[in-house]
């Protein structure tokens, strides 16, 4: 049904050897009260690479993220992460399966400081009652502080560590949201419009950050409207429209597909 | 005799219906759990009593009490609801609790904390049907309560203002975009709910011939139970819930004695909250906000 430009698709449908794909979605559907928002969606994101999920407004991209991260339960279909079926895994356990995400509308804890937000992001790696009840916030030299500070320093945000999130500029918060997601050391990172609202310098910083993550083996699934940005890092592109896949391939390949041109008709396509 | 108890339960329920409707208006339309309402219930009864004591004619005393309740309610709107409707959800609730405490203690300061006896305004004339006895005061109160609530239901359904209010209940932002003047309509809701609940207080005093600064706490709070049991935001729910709580109360007195009333009434509320939080006639929880 989908006008497919390539390769990737056939592999995904055939069912792959565990581990070829960071994320694989098979026959995924989601309806809200009879209204189908995602319909029979299948695609795969190769491991260690960046895949883009694009489509016009309301196509269902964020909904796909919500299905993969477990915020919504799918009406039908399966979700596999690194070959493991996580469809029935509760949202809270998915981060243990290696899935982390950022949010389209930044969802940091407003009243907390930047570094406190990052401490929450570390949770997966601080398990057990000992970790839960250690009064480490009285110990400024504790490794959890150091780790969080280091992650901030790495992306040049170190200076903001002690500031309250609510008081920071949009672009900074956006980046911090991303840093928090990476602190769980996910194998698959879902980024919902990471470049939206960033100025050109910030966008360059973001690109550098994402390349760093990819070089460390993190697989990325990126929702983004900024096509040059997508072209920069994503080798693989999946196009959604009205909850269905209309194309898949490299950015140049999907651009050629008539349905894609039609879907974007004069809007985003440069 | 059980039938007599059922009648008494329904009559008491009529008063709960009034309070429950007030709560339901505030929560259904404004998403505001207005805990000042039990205070306004008390104010209705106590002010009427005080003005009667000062020699006022009963009609003027009641009217003045209703007006005073409406005025306080507008103050609640200005100080508790309006500034905080977009803030942390517990703030307006807590602020309205502040009004409850304020009213209760001001009344105590002025008239003391004792229960006062309310003069019998309606001649003690009982109607008999077979073996059943219905007091005139009971019957009049019940008819007024049910009449007023049915009028409200009609008002919300058919008048322009009613339709606008329901639009706000549906979605306040959309209503605003559609050009509905919230600044004019929201005070209406506060006046309506204040008048209903204060009327409940007056009818309670008429029937039971007593008022006290704590009647809001003891009786008014049961209106919250009635609203939840019936279903938040639903007028018919408030009617069903109010009558049901009245029945539960009277029957539990009949079967187990007056002491266990609170256990059963609030036990019933807790059960409903756990098993069916949306209440008997309410919509499922979705738009809820503290």
């Amino acid at each position: 049904m989908s006008a497919t430009a390539t390769l990737g698709n056939a592999g995904a449908m055939a069912g792959s050897a565990a581990g070829d794909y960071a994320l694989e979605v098979r026959g995924l559907s989601k309806s809200f009260g009879g209204l189908e928002v995602i319909g029979d969606l299948s695609f795969a994101a190769p491991r260690g690479k960046a895949t883009a999920l694009i489509g016009p407004n309301g196509a269902g991209k964020t909904t796909v993220f919500n299905l993969v991260s477990g915020v919504y339960t799918p009406t039908a279909g399966t979700v596999l992460v690194n070959g493991r079926d996580i469809t029935g895994v509760p949202s809270r356990r998915r981060i243990h399966a290696g899935v982390a995400r950022s949010f389209q509308n930044i969802r940091l804890m407003q009243h907390l400081t930047v570094i406190e937000n990052l401490l929450i992001g570390q949770h997966v790696r601080a398990q057990g009652l000992g970790a839960l009840f250690s009064p480490f916030r009285l110990m400024p030299k504790h490794r959890w502080w150091k780790e969080a500070q280091q992650a901030l320093d790495e992306c040049g945000l170190g200076a903001y560590a002690q500031q309250t999130v609510g008081a920071l500029a949009y672009g900074i918060r956006k980046r911090i949201d991303l840093v928090r997601a990476t602190l769980a050391s996910p194998s698959l990172l879902l980024l919902d419009e990471p470049a939206a609202g960033l100025n050109p310098t910030e966008t360059q910083d973001l690109l550098a950050h994402l390349r760093l993550l990819a070089s460390r083996g993190t697989s990325l699934l990126v929702v983004e409207h900024d096509m040059p940005f997508v072209g920069e890092i994503c080798e693989h592109v999946v196009v959604l429209n009205f909850g269905r896949k209309i194309a898949e391939g490299t950015l140049d390949e999907v651009r050629q597909v008539p349905q894609v041109r039609e879907a974007y008709l004069g809007s985003e396509e440069e | 005799m059980i039938w007599q108890q059922l009648i008494n339960g329904l009559m008491l329920g009529g008063i709960y219906v009034l309070i429950a409707v007030s709560f339901t208006l505030a929560i259904g339309i404004l998403n505001f759990l207005n805990f000042s309402l039990p205070g306004l219930f008390m104010l209705g009864g106590v002010l009427t009593w005080a003005l009667l004591g000062a020699g006022w004619h009963w009609s003027l005393a009641m009217l003045a009490a209703l007006l005073a309740a409406a005025a306080v309610s507008l103050l609640v709107e200005q100080l508790s609801y309006k500034p905080m409707r977009n803030a942390d959800p517990e703030l307006p609730l807590v602020s309205s609790l502040g009004f409850l405490v304020l009213m209760e203690n001001l009344v105590i300061v002025k008239w003391g904390s004792d229960q006062q006896s309310f003069p019998a305004l309606i001649p003690d004339f009982n109607l008999r049907f077979g073996g059943l006895i219905i007091g005139t005061a009971q019957l009049i109160s019940f008819l007024i309560a049910v009449g007023v609530v049915l009028w409200l239901s009609w008002f919300l359904k058919t008048t322009n203002t009613g339709r606008r209010l329901r639009a706000i209940a549906e979605n306040r932002d959309t209503a605003e975009i559609l050009g509905i003047n919230l600044a004019r309509l929201v005070p209406c809701v506060f006046v309506f709910s204040a008048v209903f609940t204060a009327l409940g207080g007056i009818l309670f005093a008429l029937n039971y011939l007593q008022v006290s600064p704590f009647m809001g706490e003891n009786i008014g709070f049961k209106g919250v139970a009635a609203m939840i049991v019936g279903g938040m935001g639903s007028i018919w729910g408030a009617i069903v819930g109010g009558l049901l709580i009245g029945l539960v109360e009277v029957l539990s007195i009949y079967f187990f004695g007056a002491d266990v009333v609170n256990i059963l009434v609030y036990g019933f509320l807790l059960l409903v909250l756990i098993v069916r939080p949306a209440g008997l006639l309410g919509r499922p929880i979705s738009r809820e906000k503290l």
Partner: protein
């Protein structure tokens, strides 16, 4: 210290304990309007154990706290399934039920009240309150405290970070109830008399009010609120009724002018300089 001053200090200590029993679940976004009920559980359980079974206070007071904690755990499982307004109302109903049960329970004196045979001295009460404050400060310096704040801010995101949101909420509710039970148990043993009427809705409501007055963003907010609530009317030498009138008016004004409470995180940060965290 004069008897009057001791009296005020003890009153303050009880208010502080109560404040933290409300604060802990509130830090996780849960409004507990039935805290007086949990105080009653602690008070009556410990009094019964001291009176009838001859337990030492060292055992009966903790047992009272534990009883309250256990009851909270049992009811938290169904009650915390509801949230927001429904949770506030469920706890409200629960408080009413508990008070009504004790009002009718003959073994503990029912409406006539229940004398308690053992006596806790003022200094012990104050020390216990200080202990509660220290425990709360300790908790606030752990991940546990951090996660409670996170849940209040955004439960969905906290869940996605892998935190067991429900478990955290149940435990906060239960520990809060334990603190309330502890306070209730001390209360009975200090004043040597308890009556069910004392543990009414208004006690719960007042506690919630002064916790919010102090502010819930930081762990010291409830302490500030309790101090304010206790000392301001004393300073004004007001009668009991005027005390409540003034306090209620103050609450309404505060919520209007400074809804985040007297003590906020940013205020504390600017007061305390930048000591926390890693020095750069």
């Amino acid at each position: 210290m004069s008897g009057y001053q001791t009296g005020v200090l003890v009153f303050l200590a009880f208010n502080v304990i109560a404040a933290y029993s409300v604060y802990l679940p509130m830090a996780a976004g849960q409004l507990n309007l039935g805290i007086a009920g949990f105080m009653a559980i602690g008070a009556y359980t410990s009094a019964y154990l001291s009176n009838e079974l001859g337990w030492s206070m060292l055992a009966s007071v903790p047992a009272g706290a534990l009883a309250s904690c256990l009851l909270a755990t049992v009811v938290a499982v169904p009650v915390l399934r509801t949230h927001g307004i429904y949770l506030a109302l469920a706890t409200f109903a629960l408080g009413q039920i508990i008070a009504a049960v004790f009002l009718n329970l003959e073994v503990v004196g029912a409406a006539a009240g229940y004398p308690v045979s053992e006596y806790v001295s003022p200094m012990v009460v104050v020390a216990c309150a200080a202990g509660v404050v220290l425990l709360m400060v300790f908790l606030s310096r752990t991940r546990y405290g951090l996660y409670l704040t996170a849940i209040k801010n955004d439960a969905t995101v906290t869940d996605l970070m892998g935190v067991n949101v429900r478990g955290m909420q149940i435990s906060a509710f239960a520990i809060g109830a334990m603190v309330a039970g502890f306070g209730g148990a001390l209360y009975g043993h200090h004043y040597s008399f308890i009556e069910a009427q004392h543990f009414n809705v208004l006690l719960s409501v007042f506690t919630v009010l002064y916790v919010l007055l102090g502010g819930t963003q930081t762990v010291l907010g409830p302490l500030v609120g309790a101090v304010f609530f206790t000392l301001l009317p004393e300073a004004l030498r007001a009668s009991d009724q005027w005390r409540y009138v003034i306090f209620a008016a103050l609450i309404i004004l505060m919520m209007l002018l400074r809804p985040q409470g007297l003590l906020t995180a940013s205020l504390l940060r600017s007061l305390g300089g930048r000591k926390q965290g890693v020095q750069q």
